[in-house]
């Protein structure tokens, strides 16, 4: 992982933009690890900044969708970081509890539908 003090100007430019966009005084470990390949660091941040910007969905809903995908993929770091981010953007205990309930049920019915090889209903388009 590359700390700010040891980073090249190319890497520092990305770190600076991350900190300015998110009002932080340091970047997360994810970015410090990604900085070992500067083109991937720059491209990933540019993509993430665009995808998570306000739009038809609110910031807290986007973070909860990110968390849903991270949970299904079983990525421990991603679960931890996006739980913290969703909390910071307004996810309270009740919302988190219901999110978990939906993810659990989705996992259960996913397995059942896959194993039963359920044909897609014509009504689903």
């Amino acid at each position: 992982m590359i700390e700010y003090a040891d980073a090249s100007p190319e890497i520092r430019a990305v770190y600076d933009d991350i900190m300015a966009t998110r009002s932080l005084t340091d970047v997360n470990n994810f970015w410090k690890a990604l900085a070992t390949h500067p083109p991937t660091l720059a491209r990933t941040w540019a993509s993430l900044k665009q995808v998570m910007a306000p739009g038809a969905l609110s910031p807290v809903m986007k973070e909860m969708l990110y968390l849903a995908a991270s949970s299904a993929a079983g990525c421990q770091y991603c679960i931890a970081s996006h739980t913290a981010a969703a909390r910071a953007k307004g996810m309270d205990d009740a919302m988190h509890g219901e999110l978990l309930a939906v993810l659990g049920m989705a996992a259960e019915t996913n397995r059942l539908a896959e194993t039963l090889r359920v044909p897609i209903d014509p009504a689903f388009g």
Copy 2:
């Protein structure tokens, strides 16, 4: 798959409750396939009904989270049925497009975080 006409009273009771709750005139293939094991049919519907009921999260947000988990699990039937359900509950083209963008980015950064074995930041709690 078990059609309504061929179903036992135990199975029909579940089908009737699904149709009444969702204002439908038939149940999806998922339930017809699950009916081959009536205890699992009854338990899954009871759980799903409780989990998807209105709460701290809106119905459309719950469907989009369900879709996020189904997408990450790669369940084709689940993707089709929950895309249709989310559409019915208010997901428009812009919301769907942003949902896809979040899921794609989450998949990408999940792989990067896993492969780099990024340690969890103390700030994430």
Copy 3:
């Protein structure tokens, strides 16, 4: 996919052993597809024959475990072939229904445990 009539002697030797071991008059599509790389065909069959042979676990239990792993991986071909094999080795409707119920619950609790980042209990060793 390579049919028996078009197969080299090296491939036919594997096909013959599969048919003799399983009392079949043809091999499944899986083997015909694998035959495009003969070393992988021979190695995979040798491993499978050893792994699925009678042992501490009964043949039907081994097939149901195979089906459980295939279901969790979302492999449609594997689910279809190992459902058929488990049926042939004695899995009845009640056993299949309970298998599905276990797989569904396992999927649900897996997601909940991952997302809550539950620490492993010392008692689990």
Copy 4:
């Protein structure tokens, strides 16, 4: 995580039933983490109790199937807890070894079948 001493009466009722059903003097971390959302705690325990009850499959076989699904999903907590549970219900070293061998082969052939896009044999129904 919520300890018994800090739990509400609603949560204690579930903890008491888990301990009585399983002859334990405390509940696992999984339940203590789930208790942050009491409706999900109660619903998950009710489902699990029904699914894991004796039936057409023996308790040890149900635990081994649970372990197979947890292994395929890569859930470390679930693997640890269901290995311990299967051991407690009668899984010996030879059974564990054969379980691992089946899961390993299933993972290998799943990947081969998916990547070769093997068409499902008509005989599988």
Copy 5:
């Protein structure tokens, strides 16, 4: 899916760049489906173009790594498209056979390592 004839100028600009970069006379279904959300279409193509450009790894090796990831994720469309692309860039039958053999073994040993909860060797850094 949006065909070229029905596409907006914004979408056509991306389609034109894909066709020019890859010497094609039409774009794959993937891009036509992605075009329903133009910002995701443009960003994904920009990222993919940068990532798959010649570098320390050859184009055929990049395609085979893409195929390896798609196989492990069980994405049928991705397996089909990147098998075709890897073939076009020089993957012959022997290389494909060895790729499959590696993916199969990786899947098997991944499951064994996960289920045995093997501690990471200090030498791995």
Copy 6:
């Protein structure tokens, strides 16, 4: 885990062959854990030795493909061991960076293709 000093002659024979083939003075934890079921130890090593032997693909490319599959499966032990092995066989920082970039993009486009249910192009064969 079973150390060399405590191993049976059957297990030692496998350990000896691993150390001789790889010019090591000890075997990794993976093999010591697998040794709890000697038939799986012997079969897995025999398969791995055959699969990773020189062929149409170079040793470093085989390790990078192994790493790609391990990353997609989210197996932390496998990612650590095959990153070390790929490094030992010639993967430098630039190659590792490009590998990560490909894996990240593959994960992203896999999710998009699955969720959009893109039909396979006829040209893919």
